[in-house]
Amino acid sequence: MLIPHPLLGLRDAQEFTYLGDASLLNRPDGMAEGADRAFFDYAYLRDNPAGVHRELWFHEQGDRSWLVVTRDTTTHEILGAELARDVALKGGARWPGCPAA
């Protein structure tokens, strides 16, 4: 696979390490009420769609950027990639249809 790095262009996926569901950006507040339940969901439950998936990739053998890549899990087609930091600064990985954590 080739990952369209927002700064470096197409890079072979072999340079990257995969983490999974981009909802991992939305880490609950550990000091909040009900944190145990929220963390159970956060640590274990995953969106696992057969279709478009937003997911985290780390450019380990590259510029050490974490990316949010949008990819179709049935065809492996990649629809876009952003720096995870930018996504996180904009308020996390939530997108239409995804319930807030």
Partner: protein, 387 residues
């Protein structure tokens, strides 16, 4: 029809005219007591054990394609019970015992072959960990042996003992482990279940659940609505998709795991060998192909195909471990969709929806669990069958 030596000879001499279908192609009935979604190893073994116990129950297996098209038909055929944790080892050992009597039980040769598995040891820390595991196996009633480097060499002289990056220091052996012909397992269960009256319905894709008041009533399928008292889901990598139709989010990711087979070769590898310092394991099929695999591709996928880096990585590990395979050729690669649970633990349970049961999250362990799982599900369903 029962297979017997007499029948085999008689058919050979009379032109094989008397063989009937291995199973029927029934039309779906409007309603069943049990519907099992997924005509793979787990679905078929569950149907088999259920039908053997509850002779009167109306049971159907719904398969969106052909029987055995999922991971049962695309794995590396290894059976073993060399697990560490108390939640795992006794279960896989139960499964192992069933493997040992499987063919006699369902009268179908699934070619269970107990040629042993060696997990190679490359460091002292690894030896400690394998000793702990071997002891756990023995304590659970399974078999295990700790091999010295020389014992491993005696068994597998072709491994790289001379200039290896990670020298072999020994191995953990389970002699009762081995391989089984994966398709044969699926067909044996399918035929056995069919003979007990289970409807195996192929080309029947489940498209939704009918759920009312928190209770499952049946399933919508590509061949119409089918009612059911209880619905079991055994769809491995498709679990997320199917359970999503019931409104459930799971602690599971679907990943592609590739497997590989070489061209046919005269026997050269005795049992199953796993490399302890790279991602590689290998055995040789009865037909002569080297069957091998390694790590998952490492990204969510439903595509049933993998990518080049993993192929290279697996071959590289294979060459590092046994440089004699260099001149063998890779004939075919394929990919299965693994239901990878987040903590590596399978889920065999009721769901919050009454009457809906889930069996998923087997990671790489699904094939070897096939008989044990079916028996276990029968037991748990049986608890509630009377009710």
């Amino acid at each position: 029809m029962r297979f017997s030596a007499f029948k085999v000879v008689a058919e050979a001499l009379t032109g094989h005219k008397g063989w009937g279908p291995l199973w029927r192609n029934p039309e779906p009935k409007p309603e069943y007591d049990y519907i099992i979604i997924g005509g793979g190893g787990h679905g078929l073994s569950t149907a088999y054990y259920l039908s053997n116990t509850f002779r009167q129950a109306r049971i159907a297996v719904l398969e969106r394609g052909w029987l055995g098209q999922g991971n049962i038909g695309r794995n590396t055929t290894i059976i073993r019970s060399n697990y560490l944790l108390p939640g795992n080892e006794p279960f896989y050992e139960l499964s192992m015992k069933l493997w040992e009597g499987l063919e006699q039980a369902f009268n179908f040769n699934a070619m269970v072959s107990q040629r042993g598995i060696v997990n190679l040891i490359h460091s002292d820390g690894q030896r400690d960990a394998y000793r702990r595991r071997g002891n756990a196996m023995l304590l659970a009633g399974a078999d295990a042996e700790l091999l010295s480097r020389e014992q491993v060499r005696g068994m597998c002289p072709f491994l790289n003992f001379d200039n290896a990056r990670f020298p072999i220091k020994g191995g953990l052996m389970q002699r009762r482990a081995g391989t089984a012909r994966h398709d044969g397992v699926a067909w044996g269960y399918a035929r056995g279940a069919d003979q007990k009256g289970v409807d195996l319905i192929q080309n029947c894709e489940v498209t939704g659940f009918r759920i009312e008041n928190g209770r499952v009533l049946g399933v919508e399928t590509s061949r119409g609505y089918i009612g059911a008292r209880k619905v079991g889901v055994a769809v491995a990598g498709m679990s997320g998709k199917v359970m999503g139709m019931a409104g459930m989010r799971l602690p599971i990711e679907s990943h592609v795991l590739q497997a590989f087979v070489s061209e046919g070769l005269k026997p050269v590898i005795p049992g199953v060998i796993t490399f302890g310092a790279g991602h590689f394991y290998v055995s040789q099929s009865d037909k002569g192909g080297l069957v091998f695999g390694g790590d998952i591709d490492g990204y969510n996928s439903y595509a049933q195909r993998g990518n080049l880096p993993v192929i290279e990585d697996v071959a590289e590990s294979g060459m590092a471990l046994m440089p004699m395979i260099g001149r063998a050729r890779l004939l075919r690669t394929w990919g299965g969709i693994m239901d990878m649970s987040m903590d590596g633990t399978p889920i065999i349970d009721r769901t919050p929806i009454e009457g809906l049961y889930l069996n998923a999250g087997w990671c790489y362990g699904g094939f070897k669990a096939t008989p044990g799982l079916g028996l276990l599900l029968r037991a748990s369903a049986g608890d509630r069958h009377a009710a």
